[in-house]
């Protein structure tokens, strides 16, 4: 494990007062906030600056960290000495109000037992809930799937030492799930204290971008490219969908933008969504003599002005 220099992460020096630490934090949080940042490593940087703030704006944690950090530099191999925080009084509040799952192993190793120790008087305290994002394919929402999720959870051995346990879960993704929904896995969050129950794990579902389909709730949309004569005269086509091939009838006189609805062919559920094919009429290029003649013939023989108001 590498030592993290929280002062360096926030771009401040060791004498910086708390209001200025918050100021530095907010400036970086604005830059790396995952909801808006376009930086490729935004999520990781946000995690670092969050935990730097959590430590440096808490006078107790900061004092303990400062003493520990005197002999370390950023990136240096690091193992916290046993009882490294002996002599420091922690209020214990700050462990409970952060989601440890969003912090690094370094932070977790240093501070995870702090709350535990100070909260001995809280019998049967339930463990924290955890949150993770899972990306699935659209097809998984149609058919269901199993996905591997790796979690790191602090555990305490009989001697009271904290270690990180890797936990690989195979999670069944139920058929019918949609983007933004959560799957709750009861008891898969952080372990409780004093014999309390473990928290729950919430998996937030996202679909991996699909070039062929876009999803709105339970409805699925695909673009159907058609030739002008197919749109004008109507045709019958066999098209692939996430739930198999379908026979599709394009009505005559169709225009670009027309939606063909296949009822119940969207994401399945007790009230399944619909699948829409949105027509896009593609013109053949006039790049041969024959094609040019045909366009000229249409221009001459078909009285049509697309800009004329009907």
């Amino acid at each position: 494990m590498e030592f993290k220099d929280y002062y360096q992460i926030l771009g401040i020096d060791r004498a910086t007062a708390i209001p200025d630490i918050k100021k530095a934090y907010r400036k970086l949080a604005r830059k790396y906030h995952p909801d808006i940042s376009k930086e490729p490593d935004a999520a990781l940087r946000m995690q670092e600056i969050n935990e730097a703030k959590a430590v440096l704006t808490d006078p107790e944690k900061r004092a303990a960290y400062d003493q520990l950090g005197e002999h370390y530099r950023a990136g240096q191999e690091f193992r916290p000495p046993p009882d490294w925080d002996a002599g420091f009084e922690f209020s214990g509040r700050n462990y409970e109000d952060v989601d440890l799952g969003e912090f690094s192993d370094f932070f977790t190793d240093l501070f995870s037992h702090v709350g535990r120790r100070s909260s001995r008087s809280h019998h049967h305290m339930r463990g924290l809930d955890r949150h993770a994002k899972v990306f699935i394919d659209l097809r998984d929402a149609y058919d269901g799937a199993t996905r591997a999720v790796t979690l790191h959870a602090p555990q305490t051995d009989p001697q009271g030492n904290v270690y990180l346990q890797q936990h690989n879960l195979q999670v069944r993704i139920p058929k019918g799930i949609t983007e933004g929904q959560h799957i709750r896995l009861v008891g898969q969050g952080h372990p409780g204290a004093g014999g309390g129950e473990s928290g729950d794990l919430y998996l937030e579902i996202h679909f991996t971008p699909n070039p062929d389909y876009r999803v709105e709730g339970k409805d699925v949309f695909a673009t159907l490219l058609v030739a002008p004569w197919e749109a004008a005269l109507g045709t019958s086509l066999t098209m692939p969908t996430p739930s198999g091939h379908v026979q599709l009838k394009v009505p005559k006189g169709s225009q670009s933008g027309r939606k063909l609805r296949l009822k119940g062919r969207g994401i399945p559920s007790s009230e399944p969504g619909d699948l829409y094919f949105v027509l896009n009429v593609v013109l053949p290029p006039a790049n041969t003599e024959k094609a040019r003649q045909l366009y000229e013939s249409m221009a001459r023989d078909i009285p049509f002005n697309p800009r004329q108001k009907r």
Binding site: K22, Y25, A29, T146, R172, Q181
Partner: protein, 104 residues
């Protein structure tokens, strides 16, 4: 230690969260949730405590509110305004995507 087992979960929205479960999932006090529901920043506007049930959408929004309040010391109203704007951006991005236009 590595554990390998297949775990079944429940889809939130088919089984919604109670106030207590919801507060725990957001790592906030119940009072924090109540205040935001009562002031219309969260939930569907139902003010009857016995009927409060929370969905996936509420969970995403509440965690975003909490993050804004904690990260930027934002007052709840400002955090709610930012959450509203994020939701609007997501909606507009959806429309751009639907039109086949890039948004970055």
């Amino acid at each position: 230690m590595v554990e390998n087992n297949i775990v079944d979960g429940e889809i939130l929205d088919e089984a919604t969260l109670t106030l207590e479960e919801f507060a725990h999932a957001c790592a906030v006090e119940r009072q924090w949730v109540k205040e935001r529901v009562e002031s219309g920043m969260l939930g569907d506007g139902t003010h009857y405590v016995s009927q409060w049930r929370f969905t996936s959408y509420d969970l995403i929004r509440a965690r975003r509110l909490r993050q804004m309040e904690y990260d930027f010391d934002a007052v709840p109203e400002l955090a709610a305004l930012v959450a509203d704007l994020f939701e609007e951006i997501e909606r507009l991005k959806g429309r751009l995507r639907a039109a086949g236009l890039p948004f970055h």
